[in-house]
């Protein structure tokens, strides 16, 4: 009986603790999120100088790299809102059109984004090259 009571007490404490943690994490949701999507960034009406991260995809046919000056221009999109991005510097291996990216920088007054760092996001899919090509041929894979 004593053991049962003790077990009940511990379980009750765990539930209480879980609830507390859930409330804290929910309250901090904005701070825990790594980036704004372009739609969120526009809706937030952020100050032009505020440093932020934008997460989305590199829009198709928007990527323009000047290999001489390392100037990079592309459009980041969440397929609802598009924001033009300018960046100068090195790019990670996985950076290309239609790839998920997270860019750090600030918004300009004209609505474009000046990036200081670009990170490529990798998705959870793993497949060998021949399979990927076969799937692409059959049109099973969409834009991604």
């Amino acid at each position: 009986m004593k053991q049962k009571k003790k077990l009940g007490f511990i379980c009750f404490l765990i539930v209480l603790l879980g609830l507390a943690a859930a409330f804290v994490l929910y309250a901090l949701k904005k701070n825990i999120n790594l980036y704004y999507t372009p739609t969120q960034a526009v809706a937030e009406k952020l100050a032009a100088t505020q440093k932020l991260r934008l997460g989305g995809f590199v829009a198709e046919n928007s990527l323009d790299i000047d290999s001489q000056t390392l100037q990079v221009n592309f459009v980041i999109t969440d397929y609802k809102t598009q924001i033009p991005v300018h960046y100068q510097g090195e790019l990670p291996n996985l950076f290309r059109e239609k790839q998920g990216v997270v860019v750090t920088g600030h918004l300009n007054a004209n609505g474009s984004f000046e990036a200081t760092e670009i990170l490529a996001k990798h998705d959870e899919k793993y497949m060998p090259k021949p399979v990927r090509e076969l799937l692409a041929e059959q049109g099973v894979l969409n834009a991604r």
Binding site: Q3, K6, L7, I10, I14, L17, G18, A21, L25, K29, I32, N33, L34, Y35, T37, G55, E90, L91, P92, N93, L94, F95, V102, E117, I118, L119, A120, K121, H122, D123, E124, K125, Y126, M127, P128, K129, P130, V131, R132, E133
Partner: protein, 245 residues
């Protein structure tokens, strides 16, 4: 039930049980590790976008799974040791901590090594990476607290409470990639629909089993040593020592 209690509550039976089964454990470990390593590193095809760099998954994913799995075992044994006062549960809890910490460290390091070429950064404070780092600190705190308290009874109770409270972090790690937007990708391994080609998946599953067996082997070795030490004055231990010398 009686047989179970006999095996796990009587130290001598527990010791016998472990020594009888440990060759099988070692054999299974070598088999799964051998297949996983050779098939994963030599025969699995390269990934279409990461090339050969994806092969770090064969160490990273098993380590990360074990890091969380071992903590779950620690919490379970902490609960058992608090409620039922079973010595074996306390032993398993304390032995698991440094092993779990090592796997967490391995997961953090392999992730970082992969992150630099693929993402473009060694580290980022996103929800997944941060919560796993917290898990690492929880393990270290558990070990430190145990080392700091000299009274065995108080030490085991406080450590058990710490393990239970820290468990709140485990679901946070698991769901971090769903609840918040992170740089870390979502789960590749899911029960019904893993998003990885079979030729890459089977070595991975084999490596996960191998890592789990490795944990079991370490756990059993430490358990045997602890049982022998605790029972060092008992006749059956004296007998074993006599046989050895």
């Amino acid at each position: 039930m009686q047989r179970l209690t006999r095996y796990f509550l009587v130290p001598q039976q527990c010791y016998r049980f472990i020594t009888d089964w440990s060759p099988w454990l070692t054999g299974a470990f070598l088999l799964t590790l051998g297949y996983g390593l050779i098939a994963g590193l030599c025969f699995a095809p390269a990934d279409y976008q990461q090339g050969d760099g994806f092969r770090i998954i064969y160490v990273h994913v098993p380590s990360a799974l074990l890091a969380m799995g071992i903590y779950t075992i620690m919490t379970t044994t902490a609960l058992i040791s608090l409620v039922f006062r079973i010595k074996l549960a306390t032993l398993v809890m304390q032995i698991s901590a440094p092993i779990g910490a090592s796997f967490t460290f391995l997961a953090l390091i392999t992730g970082s090594l992969w992150g630099k070429p693929m993402w473009g950064t060694w580290w980022i404070w996103d929800a997944r990476l941060t919560s796993v780092l917290i898990l690492f600190f929880l393990y270290l705190a558990f070990i430190a607290v145990r080392a700091a308290i000299s009274d065995p009874w108080a030490r085991d109770r406080i450590a058990a409470w710490m393990a239970i409270i820290g468990f709140i972090n485990i679901p946070i790690i698991h769901y971090s990639v769903l609840w918040w937007n992170t740089l870390h990708q979502g789960a590749t391994l899911t029960v019904f629909n893993p998003s990885i080609a079979p030729s890459m998946l089977y070595p991975l599953l084999s490596m996960i089993i191998a890592f789990a067996l490795f944990y079991l082997i370490l756990l059993c070795q430490r358990l045997c040593a602890d049982i022998l030490y605790q029972e060092r004055k008992a006749a059956w231990v004296q007998e074993i020592l006599h046989e050895l010398t």
